[in-house]
């Protein structure tokens, strides 16, 4: 179903069906209702539950993109999205809380991926240390609220839980500042060199955080910070959540936990919405054009009056600030963070989201975040559970008479997460280098090497007089 948005309008029967306005609305609603209903009626005791769960939730998760891809008026789309996000998802999430957790994780990583997309996708600066800014935001909130034996606790600098909302903005500012600090030394670098330096920067922040437990204990080192503060549950949310949960599942226990999850879900969705909104505004502005110009041809951009230093720093700072805000939310949601939450693999995973979905395009990046997060947290683990379930009942595959019990434990799908990611990236580069939902401009760029009808004509005899390496500002 993901192909809705990207298939060209011609030669597509689905599009033809969608040409009718009412059919389009009907189909979009039907999609959401059917997948949502299937999700609700899954029998958790069934032998095949993990497999069914594995397939159906991703389909349901695609429904926002189905709505966005349908040829409807903006107002209709917005209404449908609002209903989906604020009614359907919370209800399904309250019936089965793992779905709510997945929705929160997807929103968080989509926000991160969109932030990285500003740096990598818009301005074309390959940043492999992006998780550092995420860490800055997370540690900012964690240090000021964790009851670990840090200098903050000893000196009584801890802040109350409601300060969470202020700290989101503090996270934005601090991460932007760190983004500029990273940006300054790497302004002269491009491509591979930039990637290596940013990679080093990401590691630096992680190691700094690990070692800042002495001489003054700021971060509690490798032990991490626990019991991080969480935003207080607003008045009435407890009752609302309790009411919904009771009417749909009959449960009355753990209402507090449920309400908290709902609060985090709403905050994550809200933050993602703001980020999408800001990213779109940046894209369609002189700033966005200047970034694209820098990505396309740095020398030409600066000669046309685009101040490279300023625009690059701006890209680093805005990308970082998104990660900073999300970091604060992430720390509050996890209530425990340690340096191992911010490793290089995490940066690469976020980059993979950007690349898989479609670098440069907002919708594509959200899709990428969805796919990678679901693979990581949902699909592979459900595959493992399914295997385990079949092993427990000594299931024998018909026709080939294979005992699932004989499947080696070493070949557990969940253990092969990096391999699967690697395979996906390799396949993407081979078959869809511009991503699943390619941004128009990016797909053109990546096609450039194939049809060189113009390049042969344009390149004159002597091009070495303007050396790009000499062009960086002093």
């Amino acid at each position: 179903m993901a192909t809705f948005a990207q298939t060209p309008p011609q030669q597509n029967p689905i599009r033809a069906l969608f040409a009718n306005k009412y059919a389009a609305i009907g189909l979009a609603i039907a999609y959401v209702v059917i997948t949502g209903f299937l999700l609700l009626t899954l029998d958790q005791r069934s032998l095949w539950f993990p497999a069914a769960n594995m397939c159906i939730f991703p389909l349901f998760a695609l429904s926002p993109l189905v709505i966005l891809g349908a040829p409807l008026r903006t107002a209709v789309k917005t209404t449908l999205l609002l209903v989906l996000m604020l009614v359907v998802v919370p209800i399904i999430g309250l019936v089965n809380t793992t779905y709510l957790e997945l929705a929160i994780q997807i929103s968080i990583f989509a926000g991160l991926a969109l932030g990285l997309n500003i740096v990598v996708g818009f301005a074309g600066l390959l940043d492999l240390g992006y998780v550092a800014f995420f860490a800055v935001g997370a540690y900012l909130w964690a240090m000021f609220t964790s009851p670990a034996e840090t200098i903050f606790l000893i000196n009584g600098w801890l802040v109350p839980d409601w300060a969470f909302y202020i700290f989101i903005f503090a996270g934005v500012l601090l991460a932007a500042l760190v983004g500029i600090l990273l940006g300054l030394p790497v302004l002269r670098l491009r491509g591979d060199y930039l990637a290596i330096v940013t990679l080093g920067f990401g590691e630096m922040i992680r190691i700094l955080v690990r070692n800042l437990d002495s001489p003054i204990n700021l971060t509690n080192g490798s032990q991490g910070l626990h019991n991080i503060g969480r935003p207080p549950i607003p008045f009435g949310l407890n009752e609302l959540t309790g009411g919904i949960a009771q009417s749909f599942t009959g449960r009355t226990d753990n209402i507090d936990v449920l309400a908290r999850q709902v609060l985090f879900y709403v905050l994550a969705i809200l933050m993602l919405t703001v980020i999408i909104f800001l990213a779109r505004r940046l894209e369609n502005s002189a700033i966005g054009r200047a970034w694209t110009a820098i990505r396309e041809d740095e020398v030409a951009a600066i000669a046309m009056g685009v101040p490279l230093v300023r625009m690059k720093l701006l890209a680093f700072a805005t990308g970082a600030s998104f990660a900073g805000a999300i970091g604060v939310l992430y720390a509050a949601k996890q209530t425990f963070i340690d340096p191992s939450s911010f490793v290089l693999l995490q940066s690469i995973q976020i980059l993979a989201m950007v690349i898989v979905g479609g670098i440069g395009g907002i919708r594509g990046v959200v899709l990428g975040a969805m796919i990678i997060t679901l693979l990581d947290l949902h699909i592979l683990s459900n595959l493992s559970q399914q295997l385990q379930a079949l092993r427990n009942v000594d299931y024998i595959v018909p026709l080939i008479n294979f005992h699932i019990r004989d499947w080696p434990v070493e070949l557990e799908p969940a253990k092969y997460q990096p391999l699967v990611f690697g395979l996906i990236l390799v396949l993407m580069m081979l078959f869809r280098p511009a991503g699943l939902l390619p941004e128009r401009r990016r797909s053109l760029e990546l096609r450039e090497n194939r049809d060189d009808a113009f390049t042969t004509e344009i390149e004159p005899i002597n091009t070495n007089e303007v050396k790009p390496s000499n062009s960086t500002p002093r």
Partner: protein, 274 residues
Amino acid sequence: MSSILQTRELAKSFGGIRAVREVNIDIPEHSISSIIGPNGAGKTTLFNLLTGIYKPDAGTIQFNKRSLIGLRPDQVNAAGVARTFQSIRLFPNMTVLENVMVGMHSRLNVNLWSTLLRVGGFNQQEEQVRQRASDLLRFVGLGGKGDEIARNLPYGDQRRVEIARALASDPKLILLDEPTAGMNPNESEVAMRLFRRIRDELTITVVLIEHDMRVVMGISEQITVLDFGQKIAEGTPEMIRTNPHVIEAYLGRRAAGTENEPPKLDTQEEEVVG
């Protein structure tokens, strides 16, 4: 006529190669001037020095009674010097209109807050930018092609987009690096008309680097000849045509020695020198 651009003792070396040596140039205001010279004479290096892409080793550049030394390329652009490139350097995957809009960057109020909040006249400015960009496209004869992807345009049109993009920064001086390279005589004729209109209608001083002697002799009010990084002659087309140094530079010492009739310079010099 007062000069809008003035260089004194301008010099630049790359390693042991002295690409530009003590060059003094005066470009009269509202003129169309050409810089010519054999390949490797330092013409493009000179443009790169003027626009801040290279830093000169020595010498001064006065533009409009202001020094350009030490300015970054974007500051030079903001000061009123725009340029095109010898090898077309459009933003290939942006639309034609967007290309021209980028050219306006130094004249815009680019502010993060007004961009994010769409306040402070952001929308009006965007509208003006769009309007002015399509006006410029019409000026260079590309009206209605604004939405095409730049790299899909034919070669000659790409050259025109580059000129429109340079004009977008509202310059006082425009430096065109081999703007008619690869054009046939008809296209060159059209291009020459465009250069005159840039000077006459927009009152912008035009400087060309050019190999096509038909264009150079047909349009220039002043010609500067560079050879091995040095200025060897400067003057009107008539003066340059008969200057023995120029003939020597282009055709070799023997050709210059057998004076009598000044050789015709209307072929591309690659063929002559090679």
